[in-house]
């Protein structure tokens, strides 16, 4: 097993699909991952399972990989289910989680924006560009840059999970460019394809960050680093001013009101 835990997860799942199924049971979503080069030991470690769940998971994985091996059962109460742990964040990380809430409100509106675009005679270019402005300025410049320039610097930014986050950011930027091109050309299907793809991507991305990545980073931060990161994030926020987040919150409220009206018409 020592050899296996140091192998890439995709390689293990390809050789033994049961491993993927077991991981799914533990809400460890490696099967759909497009990269899959995290090592099994890191995959398990990053999810911070309680000792009982981790021991049980490792036992089941070993049994799945080596069905003929006499694997000793872990000395834990196999019937006892542990209560889900509440995730708590340090103040600077909590601020980033809170920023996700506004981004998720835009993601929730995207199907309405797409439907509105499809049913309109002419593409409302201004509406699409305003959504893109929110994504580029609030989600990308204001939020993602703090992740890339500050938060990720506190861990090995060459780590697989961080590289996946960078890749998601880049993929998201690609979808936004395509949506802008669609708006410029009045191409409804191009707008639909890329806004919906952006929504799917960011929904999963935020879930991974809130539930896995941020708590994992938080567990590694010392008190001194929390204070230092809080100061750096505050300075980054001050450099763009108080008005920027307020402006984009107003935009989301207006958009929510607009589509609530559309629905109730």
């Amino acid at each position: 097993m020592h050899k296996v835990i140091n192998q890439e997860i995709k390689q293990i799942i390809n050789a033994c699909p049961e491993v993927g199924r077991i991981l799914e049971e533990y809400n460890i979503g490696c099967v759909p991952c497009s990269v899959g080069s995290c090592l099994l030991k890191d995959v398990v470690g990053i999810h911070n399972l309680d000792p009982q769940r981790e021991a049980t998971l490792m036992y089941r994985l070993e049994k799945a990989i080596y069905p003929d091996r006499n694997v000793p059962k872990p000395v834990v109460d196999m019937t006892k289910k542990s209560a889900p742990k509440e995730i708590t964040y340090s103040p600077p990380v909590k601020k980033l989680v809170d920023e996700h809430v506004l981004i998720k409100r835009l993601l929730a509106l995207i199907p309405s924006v797409v439907e509105y675009t499809e049913t309109s005679v002419k593409v409302d270019k201004n509406l699409i560009l305003k959504c893109v402005d929110f994504i580029r300025t609030y989600a990308d410049k204001y939020h993602h840059m703090k992740e890339e320039d500050i938060l990720f610097k506190y861990v090995d930014d060459k780590a697989e999970i961080i590289q996946i986050m960078f890749k998601d950011h880049d993929t998201g930027r690609g979808h936004v460019r395509q949506a802008v091109e669609g708006a410029e050309k009045g191409n409804k299907s191009q707008i639909k394809e890329h806004l919906l793809a952006y929504r799917d991507l960011l929904t999963q991305h935020i879930k991974k960050e809130d539930e896995i990545l941020y708590p994992w980073i938080d567990r590694q931060l010392s008190v001194t680093q929390v204070g230092e990161m809080f100061r750096k994030c505050s300075e980054a926020d001050a450099s763009v001013g108080d008005e920027l987040p307020k402006k984009y919150e107003r935009f989301i409220i207006e958009l929510e009101e607009k589509f609530l009206e559309e629905v109730t018409k």
């Binding site: 964040y89 008190v223 001194t224 929390v226 809080f230």
Partner: protein, 153 residues
């Protein structure tokens, strides 16, 4: 078992006799003097830009590894929210530590008894009055020296 939990008599001497690992002497992690909240000055060099531990008096006696796990790397001020007088001075000192000494973080370590939460309240008030914002952590120690909770507030 009635009366104030802060001064109620409890004997857990049997448990206290349990031996932990005693490999070698542990050096003190204290790196300043004075430490009592009324005696310290926020202007002292050992507070400038540092991580501060605001400890309720009893915590250092309850926690076996107080120096190693909580004091190490930090500057300290101690106080008793039940017995100390003029505690409004404490609020102003915390405000000054945040605004003038520009401390990095404030960790408040208290006992589980209700009166001890007054120290966390003092820390919160001081932090709210300050114009700078910093992360504040609350650590609650059980009567038998166990950590009951540790959270950013």
């Amino acid at each position: 078992m009635s009366g104030c939990p802060g001064s109620r008599t409890i004997d857990f001497s049997e448990k206290a006799n349990q031996e932990g690992s005693e490999s070698g002497k542990r050096p003190s992690q204290l790196r300043q003097w004075p430490i009592q909240m009324h005696l310290v000055s926020p202007m002292a060099p050992y507070f400038q830009g540092r991580d501060i531990l605001l400890a309720a008096d009893c915590t250092a006696f309850a926690l076996g590894d107080f120096h190693k796990d909580y004091l190490k790397g930090k500057s300290i001020a101690i106080a008793c929210p039940k017995l100390d007088s003029d505690q409004e001075v404490y609020v102003e000192k915390i405000k000054s530590l945040i605004d003038d000494a520009k401390i990095n973080t404030l960790s408040v370590i208290i006992m589980q008894v209700p009166c001890c939460f007054g120290l966390a309240q003092i820390a919160k008030e001081g932090a709210e009055k300050a114009s700078r914002k910093i992360p504040v952590k609350q650590i609650v120690v059980g009567l038998e020296g166990n950590i009951l909770s540790e959270e950013w507030i």
